[in-house]
């Protein structure tokens, strides 16, 4: 009986301990701008659903309000949102609709949009949100985000270097990777490689409920925090390779590589984000 009580007490202590730990590590996980659609390799042209959410894709412990500012309660709208197919750029800003997206711990202001991916080839989607004020760091974060979808299998634009302020240019088609395959990219700023760039890698560890704008159950558990946000570095030429051990979506964020370093007099981390999908072999 006594032994049973002791076990009870110790498990309570462990729980309290892990709650504290969770409190401590909040904010340490990587922020990732999502530019999500459930399938990046389309068999034929179709209208796709997109969700633009600023979150922590592995731990899902905090969903941010996109465009949050330090000097105003108003959220700043997205700066740029467009698509490139066969070299032709189409503005998509007017397709963005404000939504509330619900994660496991809170809700945040995000966007939903639709895009008619009608033509064959690659559709390179670029989202440049307004800088987000991160109160814990008293600094701004702006993640220029690239997601590439393909229609029917013909490659057209996937490897384009768009000369963005912060950009990851893929050397592997981000929509044509088997589970267990690898992804290679080059970190660039205005077309120039960024040597030894610091890159955070996260697995989208949740179902995204497109209908209800919320996340579902976690797929995997991390054995330790270093597996939640994996830190890697580019080589001297700004190039990096990462093997995708599990099917699903993987985000890469090259931190602070952009040419803009301040915003509204505060420090700005202008990051380059790219999303890559690994397909199951079945």
């Amino acid at each position: 009986m006594l032994q049973k009580n002791m076990i009870k007490i110790s498990s309570k202590k462990i729980l309290a301990g892990s709650a504290l730990l969770a409190g401590l590590t909040t904010g340490a996980f990587a922020h990732f701008q999502m530019l999500y659609t459930p399938n990046t390799a389309l068999v034929k042209g179709e209208t796709i659903e997109l969700r633009e959410v600023f979150t922590h894709p592995f731990a899902d412990e905090h969903t941010m309000d996109m465009g949050k500012q330090h000097d105003s309660k108003e959220l700043k709208p997205v700066e740029e949102f467009y698509v490139i197919n066969k070299g032709k750029k189409t503005d998509l800003k007017s397709t963005l609709k404000g939504i509330t997206f619900t994660g496991q711990h809170n809700s945040g202001k995000a966007y939903a949009s639709q895009y008619k991916a009608q033509r064959m080839g690659d559709h390179v989607l670029i989202l440049q949100p307004a800088p987000y004020y991160e109160v814990n760091e008293d600094a701004y974060i702006q993640q220029i985000t690239k997601s590439i979808i393909n229609v029917a299998g013909t490659p057209t634009d996937w490897d384009s270097d768009l000369g963005l302020k912060a950009e990851i240019v893929p050397l592997t088609k981000p929509y044509a990777i088997w589970e267990g395959g690898s992804f290679t990219g080059v970190v660039k700023s205005k077309g120039k490689p960024v040597p030894y760039a610091e890159i955070e890698v996260e697995y989208l560890n949740r179902d995204v409920d497109m209908k209800n704008n919320k996340t579902g159950k976690a797929y995997v558990e991390a054995p330790q925090d270093a597996f939640v946000t994996m830190g890697i570095k580019a080589d001297k030429d700004g190039e990096f390779t990462f093997t995708l051990p599990k099917a699903g979506f993987w985000g890469f964020a090259a931190l602070g590589v952009g040419s803009d370093k301040t915003y509204k007099g505060k420090e700005l981390s202008q990051d380059a984000v790219i999303w890559v999908e690994a397909k199951p072999m079945k």
């Binding site: 034929k44 033509r119 064959m120 080839g121 490659p155």
Partner: protein, 99 residues
């Protein structure tokens, strides 16, 4: 061995070593646009294209400089064919063509 190597070089140097691909959509104005291509991104400009209806050719042309073609939508069921040579034909059925 030399023969095998030569053979491989010959094969990979031609577009026929790659997969032929075609995707079509309905423009909503009684015309259909079909885009052709290859898995390595090579142009399909000049590739033969035709439309079959009841096994008869009702339209025949070549892919444009932009590797695409637009034609009047036939009544009823038909098949669009991208013909890049033997073993490299792609057939798209009208029932699979949407707006």
């Amino acid at each position: 061995m030399k023969k095998v190597l030569l053979g491989l070089i010959f094969l990979t140097g031609s577009v026929f070593a790659h997969t032929a691909i075609m995707s079509c959509f309905d423009n909503g104005d009684n015309t259909i646009t079909c885009e052709g291509g290859f898995s390595d991104g090579s142009s399909a400009s000049g590739v033969i294209f035709y439309v079959l209806k009841d096994d008869k050719k009702v339209f025949e042309s070549k892919m444009s400089e932009d590797s695409e073609i637009t034609f009047d939508k036939p009544d009823g069921n038909f098949e669009a064919v991208f013909d890049a040579g033997e073993g490299h034909q792609v057939h798209v059925k009208s029932s699979d063509i949407t707006e």
